[in-house]
């Protein structure tokens, strides 16, 4: 006779109850992520939920090979912990891309072994298991390879600029068709590992081909989309394995990724299909050259650090509009010092954060938080835009396209319709720029030629430091 305690622990209903506890904690944790003050604890709550889900799974009687499980967990820990500890905040987009990739990769690998297992024990499983396995294989493989390419682009291992491949849409269409056709062949009765491998390979090529040409400003959308796909593939795997924790965990990630994808696409006024179709706006790129023509012959005003210091010191409200250039120049700490100095003088300093500032959703907020900027000084676009007419000075640092008034006014501009920060409505705009070269999208910015705009040329960090030292003399 076995001990009553032991039999209770391995009872499948008990394990299902533990799963309910686990995914409840996921949802509670996500809810706590809706406020900066509770977010850190929310993350811990979700982590506890994960620990419970893992322990519950290990208690299932049919689970075996504990040595190999321990080996896998040990390898993952040895790789994951130092990576998470050491990654720089500017490199978060790459990190998230890589994490999306390994998640999708794990799903694809498990689905492959599951299918081989069913072939070994007598052939295709029933459709309610087979279809989720095939879905998980396709989506997992796309996510793994697509994420790896996104990582390589963000890490600048391969060029990050968008480009077009000849016949790209046709090739992508054929690859998707091949994967789906092979899946249908398996569903309708073919029992072949070769077909399954064909699915994995076609999906892998598709993942590569879709992400490879996408670049620049579209990367936040791509990362969000791959995040959603990885979650969906995990949920499908949960259905195949009859595991509720996997289903709920996976679909929550799928929902989150979908929401972020939509938000990012809206913030750039781009449709998701047009981003996946590749390049920045296709015909728009050539339109950019034409759009720039009306700024020709107009001149920009340049200013110096001493002048900027005086304007800032006598302002009552200052807004900083940061872009990724700020992070590249590592200027966020100097900007915060400048803000501290101004606040001591009684100047109110706020930060206007465009949804696509940085290289992934919310990236700029993390970079500023790292520099000890309080999160309640960070204002979202919809919140700050009505305030600009009451702002004395706006400092645009490393941002370009997200402040381009052509998006509001010039119907011929490739970014027409994209929501922007209305920095041009503030009393004075000071743009910190290295040179007159256009931004990521290669579009000229009429903001620079406005009467209330002055340009401070030079490296962003050095310029801010110069202003800071001048302001101490005011």
């Amino acid at each position: 006779m076995t001990l009553p305690v032991a039999s209770f622990l391995t009872d499948l209903d008990f394990i299902r109850v533990l799963y309910i506890v686990a995914f409840t904690l996921f949802i509670v944790g996500m809810r706590m992520l809706t406020k900066p003050s509770t977010a850190r604890n929310g993350n811990i709550v979700a982590a506890v939920g994960m620990a419970i889900a893992v322990v519950a799974t290990l208690l299932i009687p049919s689970v075996g090979d504990y040595g190999l499980i321990a080996l896998g967990i040990a390898i993952g820990t040895i790789v994951g912990v130092p990576a998470a500890r050491q990654v720089k905040m500017t490199a978060m987009p790459q990190m998230v891309a890589l994490f999306n990739g390994v998640g999708g990769g794990a799903v694809a690998l498990i689905s492959w072994v599951e299918y081989r297992h069913y072939l070994d024990i007598g052939g295709n499983p029933s459709l309610d298991t087979l279809i989720p396995i095939l879905f998980a294989a396709i989506v997992g493989s796309i996510s793994f390879w697509g994420s790896n390419i996104a990582f390589a682009k963000l890490q600048e291992l391969i060029p990050g600029k968008p480009f077009a491949l000849p016949g790209q849409q046709i090739i992508n269409g054929l690859l998707l068709l091949a994967a789906v056709a092979a899946a249908i062949a398996i569903v309708t009765g073919s029992e072949s590992e070769g077909l399954f491998i064909l699915i994995l390979v076609a999906a892998a090529l598709l993942g590569n081909m879709v992400v490879l040409p996408i670049g620049g400003a579209d990367m936040p959308v791509v990362i969000s989309l791959l995040n959603a796909l990885t979650g969906l593939s995990a949920a499908a795997m949960g259905i195949a394995l009859d595991n509720t924790a996997l289903i709920v965990g996976g679909i929550i990630v799928g929902a989150s990724g979908t929401i972020l994808t939509n938000l990012m696409a809206e913030a750039m006024n781009r449709s998701i299909p047009s981003i996946i179709a590749g390049g920045f706006g296709g015909g728009g790129a050539s339109g950019g050259g034409g759009g720039g023509a009306d700024t020709e012959g107009r001149s920009v005003k340049s200013t110096d650090a001493a002048d900027v210091a005086i304007q800032l010191a006598y302002a009552s409200r200052v807004v900083v509009a940061p872009g990724y250039g700020l992070a590249v120049a590592q200027a966020q700490h100097t900007v915060r010092e400048l803000a501290d100095d101004l606040e001591e003088r009684g100047v109110e300093v706020l930060y206007a954060i465009h949804p696509v500032a940085g290289r992934m959703p919310g990236h700029m907020n993390v970079l500023l938080a790292e520099a000890d900027v309080p999160y309640d000084a960070l204002k979202e676009m919809d919140e700050i835009n009505p305030e600009f007419p009451q702002v004395d000075v706006t400092l645009v640092i490393g941002a370009n396209d997200v402040t381009n008034p052509a998006a509001r006014e010039d119907q011929g501009s490739p970014i027409y319709g994209m929501p922007i920060l209305d920095v041009d409505k503030s009393g004075q705009v000071i743009v910190l720029k290295r040179s007159m070269s256009p931004g990521f999208a290669g579009i000229d910015n009429p903001l620079f030629y406005n009467d209330n705009t002055a340009l401070l040329f030079g490296d962003a960090k050095q310029s801010v430091a110069d202003v800071l030292s001048e302001i101490k003399n005011v």
Partner: protein
């Protein structure tokens, strides 16, 4: 469990996910994404579930890789999210009173 029950869970959980996550402010979108990275590490359970019945060196080796991948997600995802959220601080109170005049 039958397929219909599982699909019911899937659809309801999707709506819960949409409701909860759509309330996450822009400020926290990067930590949200890395936290969801950690949660999709739950595929780790898939590897644990099937490795016992898998036969042969190849299958086992592939599953060890899958379990390692899932663990990277879980451990790395939660850790890096914690690192980020630790940095999010409110404006110190006295300063705020001064700024508000």
């Amino acid at each position: 469990m039958d397929l219909i029950t599982e699909l019911t869970i899937l659809v309801l959980a999707a709506f819960v996910g949409f409701e909860v996550i759509s309330k996450v402010p822009n400020t926290l979108h990067t930590p949200l994404m890395s936290a969801t990275n950690a949660i999709h590490g739950i595929v780790l359970l898939g590897g644990i579930l099937v490795i016992g019945s898998a036969e042969g060196f190849f299958n086992k080796a592939v599953l060890v890789v899958a379990i390692a991948f899932g663990t990277i997600n879980v451990v790395g995802g939660f850790l890096v999210t914690d690192r980020m959220l630790e940095m999010f601080k409110k404006r110190p109170e006295p300063k705020k009173a001064e700024g508000a005049k």
